[in-house]
Amino acid sequence: MNPLAGTTRFLGERTAGAGYVVNLLFRTLINLPRLPRRLRFLLDNSFNAGVRALPVTLVVAAFAGAILAMQTGIELRRFGNTNVLGTITALSMCREMGPFITGVILAATVGSSIAAELGTMKVSDEIDALEVMSIDPVDYLVLPRVIALAVMCPVLTVLSNLVGIFGGSVIAEQNLGVSPDLYWVGAVESLTSSGMLLPKEVYVGLLKSLIFGIAIASVSCAAGLKARGGALGVGLAVQTAVRNSVLLIIVLGFVITWFFYFLA
């Protein structure tokens, strides 16, 4: 195959795929006024997203906080400066690690399940059945999932942050000899001393997780709705959903941090 033609086709397909996701998100937002009619599905999806992802999110967050404290603490100890460990762990968890961990876990658990569910519905004509009943699949299926993840991702992120900071405190005390009082005073002060309702680190982290939740749900719904060709197609939809979600989490995470800390 001509490499130029291959590259052009690849870029064309990716652009069309991105366009589909953006269009889907736009149609979802247009359908927002219909959300009260989907309250039951919204609650079901929120419960699924929260309960399915909660245990693994908390375990990963605890270890991530511990690793963060360990790696940072090793260097800080060389300079005799371990008293700022609580501050660094708390800020890093809230600003970056909490939203990132939660986003990746939601992509792997809930995003994959959304893509599989909608993909199976697509290949077994259930989506077409909704269409011929004049029921918009975006309103019926996509809207409650997007809103559920937009709500649950920040909620899980807050819990991740808390558990991650706690994981760090265990390492700080047990391995680095930092007293719990010193660690927690540093952590709490760093998150409350800005004079604002929420410090920048917290609201930027929560904004990230809100955007991650919307991105994961949109990308996963799009992958499911575009599935075709039976079980193989559903498998590919799941793969696409998780890959694109993780990619977006990393890129959007970078862009949001850059915007708030270097541009704004």
């Binding site: 077409d128 269409e131 011929v132 009943m133 029921i135």
Partner: protein, 242 residues
């Protein structure tokens, strides 16, 4: 009346429909037959606006389907029912909730009225005992009957049947065929039935069209097609077929 004129459609690099012209008068069951891959299901999807033709026109009661916007298409679809090959029931809803879905979404009926109507159509298709069961718990024939109940619950003028007996044993198939004929007779519904089955065509069809290479190879009443010497008609409607 459903009218397709010179409809062509290319899918997956293959010409599926080539200048297909087809007219389905009101009040009849029109059976569309033909070898696999000749565009029978694709024809149905053009009628209900899931596909748009590459060229040609599709009219339902004089309205041009491909040029309809989403709102018009939704209005048209409210007048139509569609029975998918496997029923296409929403997996997480019970049979009764599946049947009630179009009413809950589009009508302002009270809950008790919805329940009554659901019970009525489930009874019509012999499924009133299974309303609380989920799609994974019922057989293929029951799924089809539930799908038919869902297609009928809004009192449609047209019902499109996509292989209503695919994968069913002869006894259940016979019941489904009788049901389709009953729907036409009792509810005056116009039917477009896609099938490979001679039994289906003879038991519930009024007219038969057989597709060949993306267009209508032969068309006529059931008796005309059975009596025809046309090789295509012989292949599908001859004594050894089915």
């Amino acid at each position: 009346m459903i009218e397709l004129k010179n409809v062509s459609k290319r899918l997956g690099g293959r010409d599926i429909l080539k200048d297909l012209t087809l007219t389905i008068p009101k009040g009849v069951n029109f059976v569309l037959m033909g070898p696999s891959g000749t565009g029978k299901s694709v024809t149905l999807k053009h009628v209900i606006g899931i596909f748009k033709p590459d060229s040609g026109t599709v009219h339902v009661d004089g309205q041009d389907v491909p040029s309809m916007d989403r709102k018009q298409l939704m209005a048209l679809r409210k007048r139509m029912g569609y029975l998918f090959q496997n029923g296409a029931l929403i997996n997480w809803l019970t049979v009764a909730d599946n049947v009630a879905l179009p009413l809950k979404e589009h009508s302002r009926l009270a809950r008790s009225e919805v329940d009554d109507r659901v019970h009525e159509v489930l009874k019509l298709v012999g499924m009133d005992h299974a309303g609380k069961q989920g799609p994974p718990d019922i057989s293929g024939g029951m799924k089809l009957r539930a799908g038919l109940a869902r297609a009928l619950v809004t009192n449609p003028e047209y019902v499109l049947y996509d292989e209503p007996n695919a994968g069913l044993d002869p006894i259940i198939s016979h019941q489904i065929h009788e049901l389709i004929a009953e729907v036409r007779d009792r509810l005056s519904v116009t039917g477009l039935i896609v099938t490979h089955s001679r039994a289906c065509a003879t038991q519930c069809g009024d007219r038969i069209g057989i597709l060949e290479d993306g267009k209508l190879g032969i068309e006529g009443s059931v008796d005309e097609i059975i009596a025809s010497d046309n090789p295509l008609a012989r292949a599908f409607m001859g004594s050894g077929s089915d």
